[in-house]
Point group: C3
Chain length 162, copies 3
Amino acid sequence: MSRIEAKMNELGLILPQPPILPPGVRLPFATVNIRGKRAFISGHGPQEEDGSLSAPFGRLGDTISVEEGYALARKTGLSILASLKRELGDLDRISGWGKLFGMVNSTPDFTEQPAVINGCSDLILEVFGPDTGRHARSAVGMAALPFGAGIAVEIEGEVLID
Amino acid sequence: MSRIEAKMNELGLILPQPPILPPGVRLPFATVNIRGKRAFISGHGPQEEDGSLSAPFGRLGDTISVEEGYALARKTGLSILASLKRELGDLDRISGWGKLFGMVNSTPDFTEQPAVINGCSDLILEVFGPDTGRHARSAVGMAALPFGAGIAVEIEGEVLID
Amino acid sequence: MSRIEAKMNELGLILPQPPILPPGVRLPFATVNIRGKRAFISGHGPQEEDGSLSAPFGRLGDTISVEEGYALARKTGLSILASLKRELGDLDRISGWGKLFGMVNSTPDFTEQPAVINGCSDLILEVFGPDTGRHARSAVGMAALPFGAGIAVEIEGEVLID
């Protein structure tokens, strides 16, 4: 078993199935796009284990708490890892994380985007450790995000691969 | 004639002239910035063939329909291709698309950003095909975008070059 | 003395101390993440010389003028240069700027994001000159940004290094 998957088993982490999207949605792009030693990660939302998008939908600062947002960002991280595994075959091929761009569906007065996106950063650091998992990041407030009443968190990024 | 330009002629696509900006706007950066084998693409808006910014301006979810948004995203893609051609000389130098970051001027309850940005993704795939045109993508809702009453769509990205 | 620091002295520019964050904020990522010949720059906000976040907080289009926004974007650029110097040791290691992604805390009707983010672009070009300082850029309106009542400007980016 690969080193990273052994670590994920140890942490009790389970990767979600491929995304189940709302009817009529067409996404003509790659969830992960490999070019040479780089893997571009498309914007991902939080998923349940069966692949469905995770509730609650809507905005932080409105009906969703920071704690719920943190959990959704962690699920978004698992969704990203699932896409990377499907594309790379083995997560051990990741030689280093480059960046995460963390987008939080926010009311204009919500300012705790970093505490929300920490859910994804913490996951990456737990699974990959401080060297390979080290990443640059932004965590900012979006006016709106796609799907249903709007996913609460969306994260894109880039990793380097061997 | 280059392969990509022959394909564009076949599809009846015409690249716009260089941007005509509103009076007083100063943009002290490169629309496309080449560093080694990478071309960073600045945020582009939709343009008409003469280079002027495309109406309608404003927000999706308000006065602009998804169909209009799709057409504006396609025009934004043509604007990007025009900048790439001016900088690269020949679009055949593009060895692969890396990513698109699609920004839609959105009311807080508008959630169909992917259907809008598909206008650009579809264009890239029609022109470059499924391998070279393959790209990662996000499509998200912005509180505001620049110029006049606000362009409805802005897209930035990165391509790899030979 | 390094070439870039001599230039900064000549321009009278002073880099801020490391960020002083509001109590309880935890940021488990790198302000600058080096991977090979690339340095990913996390989202930065404007700082005073002592490292504290710069007022005014809030939104452009509301209580903050374009002129104030320009000054905040310039301070954000200095904050980025301070992080790069701490990580790289010497700013002369920067072989070229890749991109800036400029985020402006904006009311829905504010559309002068480019005039705000010019504060950072102008700084980079003054310090690094037109070749090394050349960069791609977007300047867009966010619904919300982190810290206090919300920093007015946040900028992330990428530079290439030797």
